[in-house]
Symmetry: C2
Subunit: 412 residues, 2 copies
């Protein structure tokens, strides 16, 4: 089954808005086994929309439009669609109820003009939009399906997930397709591929693997197609369990969970607390931890000790250690972890000290050299890493490595 | 002049890659006064590319293609383009020199197969790609210009900026177009529009204004078209200077500079230092500051005092103040700023204490209530803010507000 996405809106054509909606939809359609053959961004003028629809009909069975349905543009796009499908407009009572409900919630008055928002082409099946005023509209012609949705990502996503995708699945009798995404950190794509080569080569033909790299993280997505859902799920679970025997330490979760959320859940479950002492990561680990709602249950604080004075004055790192071994050393990073653990009275503490770059590297300790320590209730451990040359990525990779070190100790 | 962008690559159609390249190109073309009428993402198969070129030729004068030119896909796309323009391939010596240079830098051996990378259609003007092996290719037909570029953003951007855009300007005799972007923080788009209404209404017809909102920041872009560059620049500078009289405190810079960079430059110039004490921002201010290379010159560290114990133990906030006024209060946030200023021995110190949400709000202090303090060499000042309900945005807005408070004192 082939699909085309048409994103409507001048804001896309002047580069003001990045078309994340189309990427998200393409991902979801692909996950349903639907083949996206073309994505177009067009102006919200009638001719551009009609041409895009004509061309899309030549290429695809499913044509999904987003945008051009806000209250201000409402009439134009709806009228274009009504014309395109030779349809009259009719007053759709449930849509008007929703308009009134949304307006009341925002304390706006409903005027006669707003009644117009409930006019929709009679040849469409309206799809209820619980997050906005404009409904989705489902048209069918010559075996093809056309769906128009508002372009606000929050509205598009809910309409797609709750209505469009299930309806497409039913309409086109799509088979069962199951995905599981394995989240890994700590190893780049090519090294990972080398280590799991045997496992990958032995995957059954019915299961596909995709490598989806992000900064500091590689997602491994397994996809199985067939008819028997329970059987497919079981097949994938067995493969994932087998994958653990290759890269157990690198797998921190499934299906797009974040590492900071996994660590937070573990700390919550075990009733333990953590603090951080950060040099090269400059507060980024604390930021990741506190981006999770409820993190005050297990996170007490952080000391970002960028200067040596901060390391000595607050964390009680000894001047001798700094002078003798340098700030980027096993001795100093371990002292930092122990210092913050004591100062903030937590069960665990992570510490980082490294050369984020672009300056500050030496032959001995080039840019990217990073020491990470973890203080536990039973002592302290540490590890040296060599990241790359890019400051932003070094900070990100060091933070993820520190969180993963903590995770590994928490699940022991 | 009308342009169309064709992004080639299956990774776009499965949603694996967001089409940021097309948005960036659309922005740049718009800045040159070129009207982008359509953006297409297509598969890297011959038929899809040919159809896209045919359709684009109907709509636009300038057709810009990216992607499908990596070493692995090289032959296919180049062959499609050669066929499309009825052109033979020829061996382009300067391209081969560049291939060899890039390979040597990466310590790869140049094989006979790599010579193929230097074959290009003879009807194109090659555009030198100093960041990669595949050159840009400029074709002309029936008054229209077609340009093919590699899709790696780093290569596309340099080719566009250094070669494609200047060449288009010359080829199509585009007039002079001048832009200046005013960076503001601290006020949402609609309030800002209300305050600068009179200024905006009095803009001359030759100058256009665009509001470009980002989280916590609104960029105001002024665009002037004409023939006399010096005159246009002067006109815009006068308007911007006039704008300062409306919103001086909100303007932190021009042309996409970041607030953390502006603050860093001010501290560097004045030889002053800063530290932070963060509760609701959880280390995010420290992270922003340290994302700038060289920040160790002026940033000594931060205390992320998420728990009350951290506020008392490290920052020496009094238990009485916390008990009496609560952690989110003028008294506590000022004590935090003074505490970290003293502890880390800095000229300035910023502190935040607020309710980031989603929980923790009360009738008195709803989610979004945030106190921000600034300790200076001459004492401490503080201010209460009411942000919104969204945790991530509250953290971002509080951090920007704190940095802007510091900026305003530094420029006094």
């Amino acid at each position: 089954m082939k699909a085309e996405i048409i994103s409507i809106g001048d804001e896309l054509l002047i580069g003001q808005v990045i078309n994340t909606n189309a990427s998200w939809m393409a991902t979801e359609l692909t996950l349903y086994g639907i083949n996206v053959v073309h994505i177009a961004a067009v102006s919200d003028k009638g001719e551009a929309i009609r041409d895009a629809l004509d061309q899309a009909s030549e290429r695809a069975d499913i044509i999904l439009m987003t945008g051009g349905l806000g209250p201000t543009k409402d009439d134009i796009t709806k009228k274009i669609l009504a014309d395109y499908f030779n349809s009259e407009m009719f007053f759709h009572e449930p849509t008007f109820e929703q308009v009134k409900k949304v307006f009341r919630a925002r304390h706006f008055e409903v005027t006669e003009v707003n009644r117009q928002q409930a006019l929709i082409p009679e040849k469409c099946t309206p799809l209820f939009n619980r997050n906005g005023t404009a409904p989705g509209m489902w048209f069918e012609r010559e075996g093809k399906v056309f769906v128009s949705m508002p372009g606000v990502p929050f509205e598009t996503k809910v309409l797609m997930k709750e209505q469009v995708l299930p309806k497409l699945k039913e309409h086109f009798h799509l088979g069962v397709i199951i995905h599981k995404t394995v989240m890994t950190t700590g190893m780049g794509e090519s090294f990972l591929a080398e280590i799991i080569k045997d496992w990958e080569n032995n995957l059954p033909d019915s299961v596909k693997l995709a490598y989806l790299p992000q900064p500091g993280i590689v997602r491994l997505r397994l996809t199985a197609k067939g008819n028997d859902e329970a059987n497919l799920r079981n097949k994938i679970d067995v493969l994932v369990s087998d994958l653990h025997s290759y890269i157990d330490d690198l797998i921190f979760g499934y299906n797009d969970v974040s590492l900071e959320e996994v660590v937070g859940n573990l700390l919550n479950e075990q009733g333990k607390t953590v603090s951080t002492a950060e040099s090269c990561t400059g507060g980024y680990i604390a930021h990741l931890i506190t981006s999770i709602a409820g993190s005050s249950n297990y996170f007490t604080g952080s000391v970002v000790s960028y200067s040596n004075e901060a390391k000595m004055n607050i964390l009680e790192v000894s001047k001798d250690d700094i002078d003798l071994h340098g700030a980027v050393s096993k001795e100093v990073v371990e002292a930092m972890a122990l210092g913050v653990q004591k100062k903030l009275n937590t069960d665990y503490a992570v510490a980082t000290s490294g050369i984020a770059g672009p300056d500050g590297g030496t032959d001995d300790k080039p840019v990217g050299t990073t020491w990470i320590a973890l203080a536990t209730p039973n002592g302290v451990l540490s590890k040296r890493f060599h990241f790359g040359e890019h400051r932003g990525r070094n900070i990100r990779r060091a933070a993820l490595a520190a969180l993963n070190l903590l995770r590994l100790v928490l699940i022991k």
